[in-house]
Homo-oligomer: 200 residues x 2
């Protein structure tokens, strides 16, 4: 088999394994039998262990893929998802749509991050720092756009909105509830309206 | 010792033990040595075990006391805390002050509720139901007063505000952050202002 073909096969198996693991972990939890993951991906166990020598490696890869997809879903994101092609539109709606996706990510996928064990050489801390930075950068860019359009009150910051969306994701996994709670936050994040009482 | 005096002593020891346990659990966690609790309370171990035969009994009593105090702190509450003497004042401020106390309770004391183990006869579920009901009733009464004054937008409900405050308490234990995030929610919970754009 020529090297290029071998690399393409390896990439394909890697992606099949990560997609299968995401499904199996969501269905059975992060301690699901890895045999099930290999079977769902349609590869042998030897292939799974060659790509992911430990369960931790697989969990990290699944979670990293989720964070990448979340950040790429932001309109105007640098990762160039489908949404990146449409930089127009209401920047406040774009910000809160993304915060909704972030809350859903917290509700549905936080268990993966929590399942990554501590390690002696601090790899876990570096991964978490990198993921936090990616999500904060994405939120900050969306906040910046909304603020530039005058659609956010001064003092409403990306870290505060992320903290609220994080808390909402922890408090509820129900999409309708998440949407309603974020809508309440969105109203509070708007600029003061002429004629409104001070602090109102 | 006359019976009345014996009952007063027992009550006093009970209260000393609960107060000591709250401090020790906060300092050392819920698995702290119970000897330390007895020592802090100034009673013997036999007295502790007579009042609280199991660690679970003690944790339940500490947490129940926290929920009672939280609900009693609501202005106009039926439990008659100091705040109950002052039914006047701004009902929206009263509501959000209490939501702040609730978020602080979640941040600081949720570990106690989580430490109560499941039991075969469903006692844990009944306790949780009772505590949830007490907190929901308290929030509902505060929301009702704020709504009666026209100071809350229609559709802003006690369960939604509790979910937001719960999430805020999970997201941050820092009092200044909790205050800032609740302030954002408070602005969003207000009634629409004349001249504001639809949905703004």
């Amino acid at each position: 088999v020529p090297p290029r073909r071998r690399r393409a096969d390896a990439r394909r198996n890697h992606d099949l394994l990560v997609a299968a693991a995401r499904e199996i972990f969501d269905e059975q939890g992060v301690d699901a039998p890895l045999d099930d993951v290999a079977r769902r991906a349609g590869v042998g166990n030897a292939t799974l262990y060659r790509h992911f020598p430990t369960r931790r490696d697989l969990v990290v890869e699944v979670y990293a893929g989720e964070v990448d997809a979340l950040c790429a879903a932001a309109p105007g994101g640098t990762s160039g998802g489908p949404a990146a092609a449409a930089p127009g539109g209401d920047p406040v709606r774009a910000l809160f749509d993304w915060l909704g996706a972030f809350a859903a990510h917290v509700a549905a996928r936080r268990y993966l991050a929590l399942a990554i064990p501590e390690d002696a050489d601090g790899e876990r801390g570096r991964l978490f720092d990198r993921w936090h930075a990616a999500m904060h950068d994405t939120a900050a860019a969306l906040v910046e756009r909304a603020r530039a359009g005058g659609a956010l009150r001064a003092g409403v910051t990306a870290p505060d909105l992320l903290a609220l969306a994080y808390g909402i994701g922890l408090a509820s996994g129900d999409p309708a509830t998440v949407h309603r709670l974020l809508d309440l936050v969105r109203r509070g994040a708007g600029p003061p309206v002429a004629g409104a009482p001070p602090g109102g």
